[in-house]
């Protein structure tokens, strides 16, 4: 019966597939690559477009305050007449920059601990596991608040705080992978040939964990930008003069009762879209490089 079940499972993998942005007829690899490129394009557009928003473009226009979404202001205007679309773009761009920083830093922490733990083994590995438990023992929000306070708030506080709370899952993945490779035959041979741990890590382990690393880093990003916005919203992240989404949303709270729904709706919804977009890119890359799904159809 085993073989039938296997066939069934393979089919299941096929069906669980991803989003179809492109017409059928292309191979799954082509489609995945194309959608990854497309999504990355949107991502870069927001990043660059948002960076180009200058203070001049966001000047106060008191003749046009609280304008609801419409032709000249797609996302409406705020209480001093600034265009919410431009503010949102600028905010998203800032979020993306912080998100990238946090993902990369988390990645570095994860690589170092995830490889060091199992390679050195024993006490070091136990320490890494304990550190993971330690970070997970207190809710992220509280940890980031504490770290942000310690850093005196601002960009630095947010980046350090988010980084130090987001390395755990990737570290676990890498650690498991490294443990598996360590048990593999070729690694053992290398060990017997007298190669040191560093050599083994560099030659055998790094190339194998690289795919997981790429996917893991991309998938940290959505969490990072959501946490950044959330903590900024509470008042511990970016200062009020920055064009951050969290700042915009905190401001919007004052105008909720007056019915200016667009102040909160569009910036938040845009943030969710960016986060989902990156998540999709990460999943697509995962499909591409994971041997289990790479050649299966969608």
């Amino acid at each position: 019966m085993r073989e039938t079940v296997e066939l069934h499972k393979k089919q299941g993998v096929g069906r669980a597939g991803g989003v179809r942005l492109l017409p059928a007829g292309l191979g799954i690899r082509e489609r995945t690559i194309a959608s990854a490129v497309l999504l990355t394009g949107i991502f870069l557009f927001i990043l660059i477009g948002g960076s180009l928003v200058t203070d001049d473009m966001l000047r106060v226009d008191l003749t046009n305050i609280f304008a609801p979404p419409g032709g000249s202001h797609l996302f409406g205007t705020d209480w001093v007449g600034r265009d919410m679309l431009l503010r949102t773009l600028a905010g998203l761009s800032l979020s993306i920059k912080i998100g990238v920083l946090c993902s990369v830093f988390s990645n570095i922490v994860a690589v170092v601990l995830g490889i060091l733990g199992p390679t050195l083994g024993g006490k070091v590995d136990a320490l890494v596991s304990w550190l993971i438990d330690l970070v997970l023992s207190v809710p992220h929000a509280i940890v980031i608040i504490l770290i942000s306070l310690a850093c005196g708030g601002g960009m630095k506080g947010i980046v350090v705080g988010v980084t130090l709370t987001h390395w755990t899952s990737l570290t676990r993945v890498i650690r498991a992978e490294v443990l598996q490779i360590k048990e593999a035959e070729y690694t053992k041979i290398s060990e017997k040939l007298g190669k040191n741990s560093f050599y083994i890590a560099k030659e055998h382990i790094l190339p194998h964990v690289l795919p997981q690393l790429v996917v893991g880093t991309v998938l940290i990003f959505p969490h990072a930008i959501l946490h950044e916005a959330s903590i900024t919203f509470l008042g511990f992240g970016l200062p009020p003069h920055e064009p951050a989404i969290g700042v915009i949303l905190a401001e919007s709270m004052q105008y909720l009762t007056s019915g200016s729904w667009w102040l909160a709706f569009f910036p938040g919804a845009s943030l969710i879209l960016v986060s989902m977009l990156v998540d999709r890119v990460g999943k697509n890359i995962e499909t591409l490089i994971s041997p289990a799904t790479a050649y299966k159809g969608i």
Partner: protein, 319 residues
Amino acid sequence: MKDEEYLLKVENLGVSFSQYTQGLKKTRLQVITDLCVELRAGEILAVVGSSGSGKSLLAHAVLGILPENAEETGSIFFEGRKLSQRDKEALRGKEIALIPQSVNFLDPLQKVGDQILSGTGGTSGPGQKRRRRTEQAEALLARYGLEPGVARYFPHQLSGGMARKVLLQTALAADCRAIIADEPTPGLDPDSLAEVLRDFRAAAAEGRGILMITHDINAALQIADRIAIFYAGTTFEIAASSDFAGDGAALRHPYTRALLQALPDRGFTPIPGSQPLPGELPEGCLFCGRCPQQTEECAGRRPMFRDLRGGKVRCIHAT
């Protein structure tokens, strides 16, 4: 023999799977081709084939539990009636039972007694009814030499031999007419094996038909009345167990004879080559490429399954 005299009859069964290969190309993977087998009441018929060749799909097709992406052709008859998917759903667990390969086919979190009786109409109900059912399960277990307490065990608490018996109970509880046992022998010590085979014989003696799917030709020879030889998704021959006696001169198909000669106590001569994989089947006879009697005609088209000397064979050269 007329159709009605067979308990279960499988005629030209074909099972294929749709699969996606690279890109969006959909391919059909033919795993079973033109399989024919008949089971009579009171007999044990063994379907023998090598591991992983898709034999289990025969059982799944009869019970209507093939996965969704499978396509089934051919006909299956039960007591002379051609079965639709609905018929199969109505019959399974009541008239036709399956004995699966291992204890992994039992729900790890459900008590053994409940699973034995599950096919006979649910296990929940008011206390009175439930108690009666428990007694029923215990009685069944006792009949095959297991303590009544086993009904309250969880599957992981069973030993290999016990698990086998429990799986057999699931089939006997419902008083099924036909039982399909999928690989019932591997992993058993000789004592447990003998006991399981004895239980099978006893069940057959009560008028049931038992279809035993196995890769173990020795076990098949020990217990079965007739043996069907399964190769690359089809049946090459159906022969009485007695035909396998001696050097197998009574056998009909070259593969069956080769199989016999490959046994440790009959010469131990292996057959060169290997079975073709689904998707790489030859145009003509499926034994092409490995057959010592192969002629040009064999490669042209697939031979019919025909009656010969009280058995059946799928070979144009057989006499």
